[in-house]
């Protein structure tokens, strides 16, 4: 076991990238992800990695170059946030459609307008259906661990899909937390060397990437993509278990916290889960059977496993750090409800929208939510299925 250190989420991501030693990093500055590339550029400048840096003139070009570099036949990593991810949006589908295992750190940040640099999940939630794998991290430790595992998951020969490792902007990216690295040589061995698959630079076997595929075959390609996505949860679990042997920290599809015997539970992702766990501990001390489910693998969404984990509850609150305007509910809520909707016995499920644009998530928000769930579990009617919390008016 390595010793405890203090690091920010961005340091954690950059360090995992250093250990993975990508062949190419292509990126563009944006708050709060910028610092990842500051730190990583230092590694490159000092020869600690063999990475070639491509410092593009926009996120659109950064991701375009990631696609070119990955197709060429090597390991590729990048990082972004918010507007940067939004500008990449067109290319996200191309990266996944070409089955290119690009690894991207995403420091979650609100979207304009109004412009705001604080944390929420609007950016990566807006990219949830673009064919990438998405992992979410509660703290610096998870950001580091997820980033290391991300290379293994994305580059797995049965997967070959791009992956986003999300962490909360500022709350995690810029906060110093206690965490542990892993033994460097063991980490390098865990990530392993890059395995090529149809490299563009193989001039002896010329390949055409990105052809025109019309209505005669397009749908078959889309179905194949979905079938590949279906294999991902199993591989995420295998990699998570193997990482556990290396680090002492195993990872699955999601974290269940005091959930097995719970009657009420909160489902929440990323940093807010930490605050929520503290509140749950205090409610448990009062004899209230409260628990938490923290999704880790959000795309592909492990519907069946999450259904089994939540099915026995009486009432569940899904906390979304973004909203899906016009869809009635937040994106995480819609996925949780979908996972349970065909079950004969299921909990009452309510939706809270919280923490947008860096608004603090406070323990009292978890308390009020749990109090409401307890009342619902005791038979009280649901006043409103969806509610903004921690908000004026």
């Amino acid at each position: 076991m390595t010793k405890m250190i203090a690091a920010t989420g961005n340091e954690a991501i950059a360090n995992a990238m250093r250990l993975a030693n990508p062949d190419v990093c292509s990126a563009y500055p944006i708050t709060p992800a910028t610092e990842i590339m500051h730190i990583f550029s230092g590694y490159a400048a000092n020869g600690e990695v063999s990475t070639e840096m491509l410092l593009a003139e926009s996120e659109h070009s950064a991701m375009s170059a990631c696609i070119g570099a990955a197709a060429a036949g090597g390991r590729v990593a990048t990082a972004t946030s918010s507007q940067g991810l939004a500008l990449m949006w067109e290319l996200l589908f191309i990266a996944s459609g070409m089955r290119l295992p690009i690894v991207m750190g995403v420091c979650n940040r609100a979207l304009s307008a109004p412009i705001n640099i604080g944390c929420d999940h609007s950016d990566s939630m807006g990219a949830r259906d673009c064919g990438w794998i998405q992992l979410y991290s509660e703290n610096s430790q998870e950001a580091f661990d997820n980033m290391l595992q991300a290379f293994r998951i994305a580059e797995h020969m049965d997967v070959r899909l791009p992956i986003m490792v999300c962490l909360d902007g500022f709350i995690t990216s810029h906060s110093i937390e206690s965490m542990r690295w892993v033994d460097e040589s063991a980490a390098r061995a865990f990530v392993g060397g890059y395995q090529q698959s149809i490299p563009l630079l193989d001039i002896a076997k010329p390949a055409s990437y990105g052809p025109l595929i019309l209505s005669d075959m397009y749908m078959e390609y889309r179905k194949a993509h979905e079938q590949i996505m279906a294999k991902v949860p199993q591989i995420v679990q295998e990699v998570g278990a193997e990482y556990g042997k290396l680090s002492g920290r195993s990872y699955g599809l999601f974290e269940s916290y005091r959930l097995e015997d719970a009657e009420v539970a909160i489902v929440v992702m990323s940093s807010a889960a930490g605050t929520t766990k503290d509140v749950i501990d205090r409610y448990r001390e009062k004899g209230i059977r409260a628990g938490l489910l923290k999704p880790r693998l959000y795309r592909p969404f492990p519907y069946e496993e999450i259904c089994r984990a939540l099915q026995h509850l009486k009432a569940v609150a899904v906390l979304d750090r973004s909203d899906s305007f016009g869809a009635s509910f937040g994106p995480l809520y819609l996925d949780i409800v979908s996972s349970l909707c065909n079950q004969p016995q299921k909990p009452v499920i309510i939706n809270k929208i919280f923490g947008l644009g860096g608004r603090d998530y406070m323990p009292d928000q978890a308390e009020h939510t749990l109090d409401e769930l307890i009342r619902i579990a005791q038979g009280a009617p649901v006043n409103s299925v969806k509610e903004y919390i921690g908000v004026r008016g």
Binding site: S26, G74, Y209, P211
Partner: protein, 317 residues
Amino acid sequence: MLTPLNLKELSKQPELFAPGHRMCTGCGAPIVVRMVMMAAQYPLVVANATGCLEVSTSIAEYTSWKTPWIHNAFENAAATIAGVETMYRSLKKQGKINDEIRFIAFGGDGGTSDIGFQSLSGAMERGHDMTYICYDNGAYMNTGIQRSSATPFGADTATCPVGSESQGKQQQRKDLTRIMAAHGIPYVAQASPNHWQDLMRKVRKALDIKGPKFINIISPCNRGWRTKTNDAIQLSRLAVETCYWPLFEIENGVTSITVTPREKKPLIEFLKPQGRFKHMFATENAWMLETAQQHVDACWDRLQREQTLFVQPGTSE
């Protein structure tokens, strides 16, 4: 051993751009691409912006590209090939690849001067070892002949149509070749498929120079220009002879005109055969012909003066 630039020897070379693609009859672009690919004496990796060339040469499960080829999106051929080239440098540095490869991006004028301009400018500034080739047919032909910043003054297009209140495109074209030269890159050139040896020599020169290179090549489009399907080469010749499309290169900042027309023909000889300029020949639009001619004259005059800046005293003809 370089293949000499004569038809007999070139015809013995294997084609890297296969027939059977779906480009229109009489299109200039596949002619340009064949010349470029044939000129290259290195293994190539090619990136292609979305456009006529891309959609017509990669209809799955077929491809015309006998070299590695990647199409990413419309506006990012430069960034894409920059990514490929960066990976090449990385793998080469690490001893994981030994081949001597050259990198080419093809884009139409829309994908280059307009939507792909930022991507191109960024790649040039970063100094990637790549050659960007714009085949300029002067409009968004793939989507149905809409104006681009490369559309010449006066042209009738689907989005600047001739009507009772408007007489085609009212702006001069963006001078992309000069804009690329302003990036201070080691080699910029303008070429035309009618002067095929000049074109191929420029491609060879570009591929032998380290760093970012840009070549702008005129590429007649009979659909958009409203011309016949057998006159692409004749029209590209007229473009050169009228000095609408001068053939020159700027190597390390030094401008040289590579083909000087024996007699500079009036611009109307280039405009007249093209239906897109038909309205300009109406009596009331005489001003348009004058404006177009004046612009060509001014550009040609400036180019000649630029060239003289670099001629040493006593060496001029």
